[in-house]
Amino acid sequence: MTLTERLATAKAAGNLADVLGAIPYAQFLGFSASLDGDSVITTMRFAPHLIGNPHLPALHGGTLGALLESAAIFQLIWSAETIVLPKTITITVDYLRSGGPHDTHARGVITRRGRRVTNVSMEAWQADRAAPIASAHAIFLVKRDG
């Protein structure tokens, strides 16, 4: 099965786990996904290999960037009428607090959906959702005709 076919099947079944299982990098970072209404919450399970600064300790900024980008992509796929793999054009990440050695959650909110380009803003948090550790905004190329 191709990734697009897997996505279509997973969407019909309301279960993103099969898709995440097919993406090696999502496995490497320990991603899982759950639904909160129409909103996809992507979680990065803490593991020692995600650490960037062992003295604090703190998560590597790259893992948070990857989580935020993935959260946006999963939201785009989940809320699209047709399965099209979004291509990231640009992403800007603001690091707000250092990420502790804990599970991290992220979600993306679609701010504008154009014919070719979609804007998404994202947020990542740990125990306290009201105290995000990183925020981001990204622009994706999502062509309806593939």
Partner: protein, 132 residues
Amino acid sequence: MHVPHNHALGIQFHSVRNGEAITELPYDAKLVGNPDTGVLHGGAITALLDATSGAAVMAALTSPVPIATLDLRIDYLRPAEPHHAVRCKATCYKVTTNVAFTRAVAYHADEADPIAQAVGTFMVSTKPGKAT
């Protein structure tokens, strides 16, 4: 300093001096984002750009102090080619009392044909301490 996630990604540091860092991320199946094409996940490129930019800041400081990424903007210019290593060159082009500014580029063989480009800002601690 040993950075567990850089090690897990397999990032190699080729040179870090005079405010410039050059690194390489070998192709690895575990970093693939699209199993149909074998293309690396954008997140792996993000981590490479972040790590290399941070190293460039350290290479620009006169004494090692803790730094923290404030923001990082990444433009993806084209997909990475499967089965090829990605190189990254970062420059810290300005350091002030509190903030350091970087730009970085990720490419395969030719820096003039980039995969991604990034600009970042880093908070520089005013107190000496353990380097990040």
